[in-house]
Amino acid sequence: MIAPGIKRGTAELAVLSVLEDGPLHGYEMARRIEEQTLGSLRFTLASLYPLLYRLEKRGWVRGAWETSGTGRRRRCYRLTTEGKKKIAPIRREWAELFRALKRLTKVSHA
């Protein structure tokens, strides 16, 4: 498992990346992130929603209420044009950080 402090920094990228595949509501987003990271990144309600609201305020994602086939109302989030533009620079920053850490600590992929 990854320590909470490190996870916090990756949260924006995780959410933006998972929304790249299409709109999702909060619960599904948390589930997908957990699945796709094989459980290394896990978002709880308390960690996910403040982040989603911050991203929404920045204009990177937009939430809208939708009714599912079962009649359940959920707030679905989708990436805005601005959000889509943000992914590439954030990815570059993280890639740069990983390269730097790798050089520094000699940590390498297993």
Binding site: H25, G26, Y27, A30, T44, L45, A46, L48, Y49, P50, L51, Y53, R54, K57, R58, G59, W65, R72, R73, R74, R75, E82
Partner: protein, 227 residues
């Protein structure tokens, strides 16, 4: 199954949001807890254990309430684009217009340049030298404000030259129109007058703005690279 909305509503009664927004947040969080609970029940947890586990997603309701309140506050509803382009852009445009007005009223006489040299025959370009000099500072300010808001080099460049954009739009529209109308209404004076205007109101101010803004951008990018 517990009434999730009531449960979350109780915790969020004191949140400082508009009632409609508060209800939205409560409904959304309650929906999340309900889905978590249902999933846990499907996995074989007893109802009691599933409720406890779903509620363990929130360690401190007070802290969550505070975080959501800050995140949803409306006072800073500006997007990055507003902070990085529109705000510095309109500020520099406003300042440059005000300065131009002040200089036209109280400043020294403008330099008047004619296409026919120093003989003052139309068309002429009216150049306010103090205004052009002030644009160095305004361009620097636009680049600084955009950079401080985290603008990309392109967005910072746009903020830098923003004060000349209205003039540019005017000339971009009017030059082709004048070329069409020229044959019918005058003796080939319009294109040359527009060209003079383009130099006086777009090219020279644009150069001045860039001369002020580019060094700021260069310094900022070097600073960022060394940080």
């Amino acid at each position: 199954m517990p009434d999730w909305e009531a449960l979350v509503g109780e915790q969020f009664a004191a949140i400082s949001l508009e009632p409609e927004e508060r209800n939205e947040v409560i409904a959304e969080l309650a929906g999340h807890l309900e889905e978590t609970f249902e999933q846990l029940c499907r996995q074989g947890f007893s109802e009691e254990a599933a409720v406890a586990r779903a509620l363990s997603e929130v360690k401190s309701w007070r802290s969550l309430r505070g975080q959501i309140q800050i995140a949803r506050k409306k006072e800073d509803g500006m997007t990055d684009r507003v902070k990085q382009v529109w705000l510095p852009g309109f500020l520099t445009l406003f300042l440059s217009m005000m300065l131009l007005m002040v200089i036209q009223f109280f400043g020294p006489k403008p330099v008047i340049v004619s296409t026919s040299g120093w003989r003052m025959t139309a068309p002429v370009a009216v150049i306010y030298v103090p205004w052009l000099l002030s644009l160095l500072l305004i361009g620097a300010m636009g680049a600084y404000l955009a950079g401080r808001a985290g603008a990309s080099p392109r967005a910072a460049l746009l903020s830098t030259v923003f004060p000349v954009l209205p003039y540019s739009v005017f000339f971009v529209i009017w030059i082709p129109v004048s070329l069409i109308l020229d044959d019918h209404i005058s003796h080939n004076t319009m294109p040359s007058a527009l060209l003079m205007g383009l130099v006086a109101w777009v090219v020279l101010p644009g150069v001045a703005l860039l001369a002020g803004g580019l060094p700021v951008q260069i310094v900022r990018s070097r600073h960022a690279a060394s940080a």
